[in-house]
């Protein structure tokens, strides 16, 4: 089956993202599932674990999780707990939860109580990027290392961690190269293809992910027929999209998705880990300070416009370099952290003359159709 390469291989992995991990498990590897962008994959890899990102499932109606979680909580995390309760992640050797947001925090604790992964660790991620918070986070990362070491069967070494940092920095650089191919018009990679690649590399070992990225970059650089030119070039901002039903709907309505700032996208890859003499220092700074997600509070700077510029300048740069003429805010219903940020990010984009479409969606493929009119009207308006 694995003679498929590049985009075709990514499409195959995407259809059953956990399949490769289950295969590796059968070969005797240990698998660590983690929530969100915050648990460092380098630490898991250095201890011999294959890290995989835990995903929800927009196709699966939530039937189990609502007995454990309030329905006012983010539908993505409810879905994660739902598919986990139904056994999808029973094969994990380690579960790494994180206080990324309150949804992730709840799921982490309930997972520990009911799902009984052999190793279950809760990463306490501070909500600010102050020096003291980074020190605290560094200690937490050491606890993660200690806990994984107990169950991994191999001893921790600084050298292995440094190697892992290099390996993932290479992956980040490949991801950035792939996204750069979308600066041209028309872009070379569709939003749906990009999503399949992102989901894939988060669910297979880093070496395999890096080969896949190299194949995809070569394939799309030489392609004659890409996604083609549509009415508008958009940036997607928000928590995440992990199902191509969503990206396909957007693209069908006449929009090219050329760049994103989402967690199953650039947010997980955009910035490297500095190769510091104590690798935990570089990891703590990169994961807590350099990942820009509204779950981390940053000190308010000067006037409102200075503050917005301080927090969102990277978005302005993305919008300019990828030449976007519209931004879609993908808000999963009840995602407080992104919801609260809407007025700030919207004002910031509108001030630089880029129209914004905000949709609060239900994280369900059966609830997508009513959104078509909005995407279509947005495309007609910016096109």
């Amino acid at each position: 089956m694995n003679e498929l390469k590049g985009l075709a291989r990514a499409a195959q992995i995407y259809l059953d993202p956990q399949q490769r991990a289950r295969e590796l498990k059968a070969e005797g590897k240990k698998i660590a599932g983690y929530l969100c962008c915050y648990p460092p994959v380098e630490i898991m890899t250095a201890l011999g674990y294959v890290p995989i990102r835990i995903l929800g499932d927009m196709n699966e109606p939530i039937t189990e999780a609502d007995a454990y979680l309030p329905t006012v909580m983010c539908a993505f995390y409810r879905s994660i707990l739902d598919v986990a309760m139904k056994g999808r992640y029973d094969f994990l050797d380690a579960f790494i939860g994180a206080h990324a947001c309150d949804g992730a925090e709840r799921v982490s604790y309930i997972w520990r109580s009911y799902l009984k992964s052999p190793c279950s660790f809760y990463l306490d991620v501070p909500h600010s990027n102050h020096a003291a918070a980074i020190d605290f986070f560094k200690v937490q990362l050491n606890y993660l290392k200690d806990e994984l070491e107990k169950t991994s069967g191999c001893n921790f070494s600084q050298e292995a961690l440094r190697e892992a940092v290099k390996l993932y920095n290479k992956q980040r650089s490949l991801v950035r190269s792939l996204y750069k191919l979308n600066r041209q018009d028309p872009p070379l990679v569709s939003g749906s293809e990009m999503l399949q690649v992102m989901v894939s590399i988060m669910c297979i070992p880093a070496e395999e992910g890096n080969s896949l990225l190299e194949e995809v970059i070569e394939e799309v650089s030489n392609r004659s027929a890409g996604p083609g030119q549509k009415k508008g070039r958009i940036l997607i901002w928000g928590s995440l999209i992990d199902n191509i039903a969503m990206t396909k709907l957007i693209e069908d309505c006449g929009l090219n998705i050329v760049i994103d700032d989402t967690a199953i996208g650039t947010r997980s890859f955009w910035v490297d880990v500095d190769e510091t003499s104590d690798p935990f220092e570089g990891l703590a700074v990169r994961y807590l300070d350099k990942i820009v997600c509204p779950r981390t509070f940053r000190d308010t700077k000067g006037t409102r416009s200075e503050d917005l510029d301080n927090r969102f300048k990277y978005l302005k740069i993305m919008a300019k370099e990828w030449n976007v003429n519209g931004v879609y805010f993908n808000i999963i219903r009840n995602c407080d952290i992104h919801g609260y940020e809407i007025p700030e990010v919207r004002d910031y984009f509108e001030d630089i003359g880029i129209p914004v479409l905000v949709i609060e969606q239900d994280y369900s493929t059966t609830a997508l159709e009513p959104l078509r009119t909005r995407f279509q009207a947005f495309a007609e308006n910016i096109g």
Partner: protein, 288 residues
């Protein structure tokens, strides 16, 4: 030249046929469950009123939630864009459009004839025509009459604005308390107006405000909305037709950008027929 706009809404199908200058024929009829099979009939009927043949129409645009089921349309455009264009054609000074349709409610901001922003209710019937339909049904009154009746009230009842079903329960409670029908209706229209005002307020309501859709025909809703907004809103002679009108205006614009040859070629390939997704015999006669 002739241009047609067909707006298949959740409740009502609207057709507008224009020449280069004016509307020459219109049609309004219920959509029903089988709109897939009747879009072509609706267009034909509209054309017959003015003795036009289907082949004489140069460009057809479909809009509304049923737009994907019009196989003979030359383009599909969202109802948001079409409403905006239709209203702007009638009222060039419009800045805010409030459209209260059968299953959704929209606010559209217009600036110099272009759409600046829009907002729609999501997945809830509160704030839509369905709310009024259910209320009329609960009270055993005709939908057309409830707006008028509400105007007689001197003391509107307090009704929550959150949910159609809860509002229905509140009606029953008020009835049992002996509250007059006109007061209940006034309270309901006020609640609906408040809900719409809050939603559209997110994109800032600016003068001139035009009210469209079935909701524009309801005097009660109009009154409470005007009270909330603080000045009169404008309503077209036939507020149901603005979407189809906008589609027909856009059809003229699109046709104008094509060469006569391309236009003739496009018309030649157009077939006036209904959409079928299934084998007819398997759906029309399930017992067979």
């Amino acid at each position: 030249m002739f241009f047609a706009g067909i707006d298949i809404g959740s409740t009502i199908t609207k057709v507008v046929v224009r020449n280069e200058k004016e509307i020459i024929s219109t049609l309004i009829r219920p959509t029903g469950a089988e709109h897939r099979r009747m879009a072509h009939e609706a267009v034909l009927e509209t054309l017959q009123k003015v003795n036009l043949g289907f082949e004489e129409v140069d460009y057809i645009i479909a809009t509304g939630y049923g737009r994907i089921n019009v196989p003979f349309a030359d383009a599909q455009i969202s109802e948001i864009t079409c409403h905006m264009r239709g209203v702007n054609w009638i009222f060039p000074g419009v800045k805010t459009i409030i459209d209260v349709g059968g299953q959704d409610c929209k606010g559209i901001k217009v600036e110099n004839g272009k759409m600046k922003n829009f907002i729609m209710n999501d997945k809830c019937a509160a704030g839509t025509g369905r709310f009024l339909e259910i209320i009329a049904d609960t009270l055993g009154l005709a939908l057309e009459d409830i707006g008028e009746i509400s105007l007689r009230s001197k003391k509107p009842a307090e009704i929550s604005k959150t949910c159609t079903i809860f509002a229905e329960q509140e009606i029953l409670l008020r009835l049992s308390e002996g509250c007059a029908i006109e007061d209940i209706l006034a309270g309901l229209h006020k609640a609906l107006a408040n809900r719409i005002y809050t939603m559209v307020g997110k994109i800032k309501i600016e003068k001139e405000v035009v009210l469209t859709g079935g909701g524009a025909k309801n005097q009660g809703l109009r009154k409470w909305l005007e009270e909330k907004i603080g000045y009169p809103v404008l309503v077209a002679e036939e507020p149901l037709l603005t979407g189809a009108l906008g589609a027909a205006v856009l059809a003229q614009e699109k046709a104008g950008k094509m060469s006569d040859q391309d236009l003739a070629e496009m018309k030649k390939n157009r077939k006036l027929e209904a959409v079928t997704f299934f084998k007819e015999d398997s759906t029309s006669n399930p017992g067979a």
